[in-house]
Amino acid sequence: MSLGLCNFNKDGTNDDDAISKNFADLHEPLSLLQAKAEADRCLYCYDAPCITACPTSIDIPTFIHQIRAGNLTGSAKTILSENIMGGTCSRACPTEILCEQACVLNVSQEQPVEIGLLQRFAVDSLMEKNLEHPFKRAPLKGKRIAVIGAGPAGLSCAHRAAMLGYDVTVFEAKEKAGGLNEYGLAAYKMADDFAQKEVEFLLQIGGIQIEYGQKLSEQLSLKSLQEDFDAVFTSVGLGLTNQLGIDGEEDSRVIDAIQFIEEIRQTDDLSSISVGNDVIVIGAGNTAIDAAIQSKRLGANNVTVVYRRGEESMSATQWEIDLARKNGVNFRFFSAPKSFSSSSLECDYMRSENGSLVTTGESYKLTTDMVLKAIGQTFDQPSFSELEVSKGKIVVSENYETSIKGVFAGGDCIDSGEDLTVQAVEDGKQAAHAMDHYLSNLSGEK
């Protein structure tokens, strides 16, 4: 798979073969030869900046050294011991703003070590070997932990808690585990059903049970979980999508980008996904970019990202923006959507005045038959009325404990940094340790 777009038929008709090519792996995995050559570039820094830049603090110089030394299993263990979803993170992490941005080779060679690709190489080689699960459970503690939500934070927490000797039950609203790994990341980043493979791998530790189709309700509430379990970890993510609040938003042609991506991720037949001819994506984050590129790769003729501020204000990384451009996505900056009607989106031209955004009074119309909204999601507050919430996120202490004793939280529903898979994994891991500490102290009190 190349970073660019596979050509469709000239008449614009969808071609199944072209679509499937467009949704194959974004990056070819490294061959052994490539991995060794890339590993050779690592300087094996002391107290390396890349480790600090990784939210999960993977010992990157060590895992790369292990690739070089021919200890691939050890390399994968080094990664997974800090980040059990090292496989997904190696595919989905914006490494250009994390580990690779911190690589000292940026200074001397203007090209960092390809840490993400090396991490994928190591983790994939372990997972492909189907060896015994690399981690063992500590002696069982006879205590039970409930996890709400089987996304990256929940699964990471479940795995670490199981490792520490707890029995874990995960309650998941959907039919599959993985959260945004399964439903929200662009398909070409998670080719070959990787999210499910990773879930399977992670569950091999034992002691984790997942209950599917379990939404929080009166029967399944924080209160009831607290009664049935020794501690609760909530990692429900952001359940609500933000609304534009413009005329015509209720039109069936205006849909949530998250919903669109989920459809793509869940289908067995990509050509069955209906995509418009002139797609507009509203938003500035990586979800907007994922939605735009996937629209293009499904065969949309024109895809335009509309954003009310300038390019420099986009939260999507430069690498993602460049990838979109390589795929033929257009950008309209300083354009605030105003209304949707009769196949067009009307936008106000905006300008920046002393740092604040004001309308110029001029507007224009873009022809469109599909508008994808990617203006962010928010925490579904009403479902957790008993928890203290601030700025739309659950308030936690530095030990990931919420305002309710014994209830912990992590992932996108708390404010722990960027809303990234890798941050969610770190939250889950740290929260598991915090719960262990909490429960050990409780036992001590007895």
């Binding site: 820094c45 107290d47 390396a48 900046p49 600090t52 000292v104 200074v107 001397s108």
Partner: protein
């Protein structure tokens, strides 16, 4: 362009680069390809008495560094496994076709006078420029009383050299084994026997690796392995020292030297010549990269000589010999300190951890609020060991700066703290 012509033991060569006696010089085809590539000469693969030896499969093991680059090869191949006459016919043919190139006949026999003399005469008759007595192979042949079995006994080195000198009137090179305690004993023995030159080093006895699946040393022959001869860039430091020892030893300082041992680049070549080598022999580099490797040995040496203003090899030959001393003769009052250039530092921290863990805790590591990592040498702790400068991945980032401490030149034998010095004074 500098003149690379040289003369070894009276034999003129268009350049100092000869291929050593080894698989690359096994037969007509290889040797002609080598001459076409530009090599100045070859030492033909060692010839023995008929019937020829029989070689094993497989024959080579390798030692790699962490980056999987080959540092050295070890081999368990024996001498030429083709009939003597076949080799001699081919030598004669190449001599006629390539009159400006050097061919030296390498030979080996059991420790019997007639055997050495008959073989020497037969090879000399094929028209070779000189003979090289292989007294070095540390595997196989030594088990039959040849190779290093002779080279490790100075009396035998002298005797064999003399036998050959008595029957031929062409230059004789005695090839020395490094598998000894003191190279001067065998070098002086060769000189006593009348050798026109010594060739060194032959391969170092070694096991390069163990196959952990077969649990046998490599190369593995039907589940078993043996020790073999180690060569390649990894042995260069050993060879440089032995060449220097001969060059700076009064009795052997004028002995001609054909230097061998890990020469892979023009720089290696220049280093050997600076330590007194008259000519050079190469094997492993050619085996790893092909005969074309000589291109830059020639170009690089010539460019460097032009830069330095050396017109011929003699202009810098042996120039480092006078600066090669015993430890006791070095200036103990000399001091230098590491200096880390903050502009070129890329903040990898390798210097810090090396110094902190294994040296003198002389490199301070601090992190600013903005996350900038700074590494600073603590002069009072730095002993000038060079470790950091070698480890630093950035060229010229760490410099060893001499300290002007106003102290006079002083050697350990004259040092006031040397108890031996005190004893001498009391006497």
């Amino acid at each position: 362009m500098a003149n690379l012509k040289c003369k070894v033991a009276g034999i003129e060569s268009i350049n100092p680069f000869w291929l050593a006696s080894a698989p690359p010089t096994d037969k007509y085809v290889n040797v002609v390809r080598a001459f076409e590539a530009g090599w100045g000469g070859v030492v033909w693969k060692t010839l023995g008495e008929d019937p020829p030896v029989i070689n094993m499969s497989s024959r080579y093991g390798v030692h790699k560094n962490g980056n999987q680059h080959i540092l050295g090869i070890n081999n368990i191949e024996l001498i030429s496994d083709r009939p003597l006459q076949t080799n001699l016919d081919e030598i004669r043919r190449v001599r006629e076709e390539w009159p400006d190139r050097v061919i030296i006949g390498s030979m080996m026999a059991v420790i019997e006078e007639k055997a050495w003399k008959d073989l020497a005469v037969a090879i000399a008759d094929s028209g070779v420029h000189g003979l090289e007595l292989n007294l070095g192979c540390p595997h196989g042949m030594c088990e039959r009383g040849m190779g290093s079995a002779i080279g490790q006994v100075p009396e035998m080195v002298e005797k064999v050299t003399r036998w050959v000198k008595e029957v031929v009137d062409i230059p004789v090179f005695t090839k020395l084994t490094p598998n000894i305690t003191n190279i001067l004993w065998s070098a002086e023995a060769a000189q006593q026997g009348g050798a026109d030159a010594v060739s060194l080093i032959n391969t170092v006895n070694s096991i390069v690796s163990v196959d952990l699946d077969q649990m046998a040393p490599t190369p593995v022959v039907d589940g078993k392995g043996s020790h073999g001869g180690y060569c390649g860039s990894a042995v260069k430091p050993i060879a440089l020292n032995m060449v220097a020892e001969i060059s700076r030893n009064q009795p052997t300082k004028d002995l001609q030297i054909s230097a061998i041992g890990g020469i892979e680049t023009w720089r290696d070549a220049a280093e050997f010549i600076a330590l007194g080598a008259d000519g050079l022999q190469v094997c492993t580099a050619a085996m790893l990269y092909g005969f074309r490797i000589v291109d830059d040995m020639i170009a690089g040496l010539s460019d460097w000589m032009d830069e330095k203003g050396y017109d011929s090899i003699d202009d810098f030959r042996g120039m480092a010999v006078g600066n090669t001393l015993d430890w006791n003769e070095l200036n103990i009052n000399y001091d230098s300190k590491a200096y880390i250039d903050p502009e070129s530092c890329i903040e990898c921290g390798r210097c810090h951890i090396a110094c902190e863990d294994t040296s003198h805790q002389a490199i301070e590591f601090s992190v600013s609020d903005e996350g900038k990592r700074t590494f600073t040498v603590i002069d009072d702790e730095c002993v000038g060991c060079n470790l950091c400068a070698h480890i630093c991945p950035v060229p010229e980032c760490i410099e060893m700066r001499p300290v002007d401490n106003k102290l006079p030149h002083l050697t350990w034998p004259n040092h006031p703290l040397n108890p031996m010095n005190t004893v001498e004074k009391q006497i």
